[in-house]
Symmetry: C2
């Protein structure tokens, strides 16, 4: 009598099939040209079936973004659990961002879009909730590193809450994502290696908080060496460079 279970399993697997097809279509034809009927066609199901899984197009997009976010968070987790000084782990978070965006070029574009009022409000409460749950661990991870740094005497809060420092670093990262996205959208806008720049600014901001030892940001070689070390020790399987 496992038929019911098999059915259930098939239904769940199908959601993944739809998401994969949608992702392929976005990659090949762009978010702009994504059509529900094309997703159905590509996955060889009827449109009605697609709507059994997703309340709306926006819902599907949010589901897609949530999957990305889970992978993104998993990268952060590796950085967080790395056995190293808080200072290096903080840069590792930035490197995780860098690697992730390079490997998933559509990620931010989609993320940007789904967090738009228009899309967000058009999606179902469940998907919104799933998205929030997926991104929930991030703040704790970063705050945790800041607190570790303080505990180890490497960082001074200087009257700020750990969460506020965290917010500054987060803004830096979100702003850099914006910038990377702008490179794709604007024609003549081009900043060389924006995520490397973000790593440096992370160090500079932490310098501002009396992070010890202070980083000599003039020495790009030191940063590059650290990035390479992080790639080797933390993201071995993902770094080809």
């Amino acid at each position: 009598m496992g038929t019911k279970e098999r059915r259930q399993r098939e239904f769940e697997d199908r959601e993944q099939v739809f998401l994969d097809c949608a992702r392929d279509l976005i990659r090949d034809e762009g978010l702009l040209n994504l059509q529900m009927s094309r997703i159905a066609e590509k996955s060889e199901y009827a449109v009605g079936t697609l709507y059994k899984h997703f309340a709306s197009k926006e819902d599907l997009l949010l589901a897609l973004a949530a999957v990305d976010t889970e992978k993104h968070v998993a990268m952060f987790q590796r950085a967080t659990q790395w056995q190293a000084k808080a200072r290096d782990r903080m840069v590792a978070i930035a490197v995780a961002d860098m690697i992730f965006v390079r490997r998933n070029p559509d990620f931010f574009r989609l993320g940007q879009y789904v967090f738009t009022e228009v899309v967000w409000k058009a999606a179902s409460t469940e998907r919104r909730q799933a998205m929030l749950v997926a991104s929930d661990p991030i703040a704790d991870m970063v705050t945790g590193i800041v607190n570790d740094g303080v505990a180890a005497g490497e960082l001074e809060l200087r009257g700020m809450a750990a969460e506020e420092i965290c917010t500054g670093l987060w803004a830096l990262s979100a702003g850099t994502h914006n910038l990377v996205h702008a490179e794709g959208v604007l024609e003549d806008f081009n900043i060389r290696d924006p995520y490397r720049l973000m790593c440096r600014h992370t160090q500079v901001m932490l310098n501002g908080y009396g992070w010890r030892p202070l980083v000599d940001v003039g020495d790009g070689a030191a940063l590059d060496a650290l990035i390479k070390r992080i790639c080797n020790e933390v993201f071995d399987d993902l770094c080809s460079e």
Copy 2:
């Protein structure tokens, strides 16, 4: 024979009428519910007339965002031209951001949306160009202040280009906008006074670049005094607090 001129003038004024109506509709009913037919109805013109002015809905949104950007840039210009030390002018830029967003709560939401791949690509080349032209002065203004600071011996580049420092500050600002937007979109997300925090992080980051005298970020009172001074001296007419 001024009839032709009058006609021409009427045509140009109408564009403003459409934009005003669209803005009102967005304020009252949200971007999500904005419909071209409603804009036409509200402005008491036919849809066809609306389309004589805007190639598409996205085109209209981009035009709307460009107007906002011009006002935004005008605020920055006031900060830039303020007769004060580079250090204070840099904070004045941040304060300009703060005041502008508070007075135009829909601004960033719209800006976020139009810079989305989906909207950007759907708009006409002319509007895109107008948007780029409108935001063009910003980078120069900020880089200018950084260079002034370096020339006055208040800031060390430490091996970074002025543009790179500028990018860091820009990322901080863009990230904060993101955060402010998130407060509107997400239900339970709430950061007290995000722009004040941005001002502080601007100071911290500049501390990291050896800005002199270094700012004691622990002293929130000093920052608040500076913000109040900027409101009085630069944005007198816009600050009620």
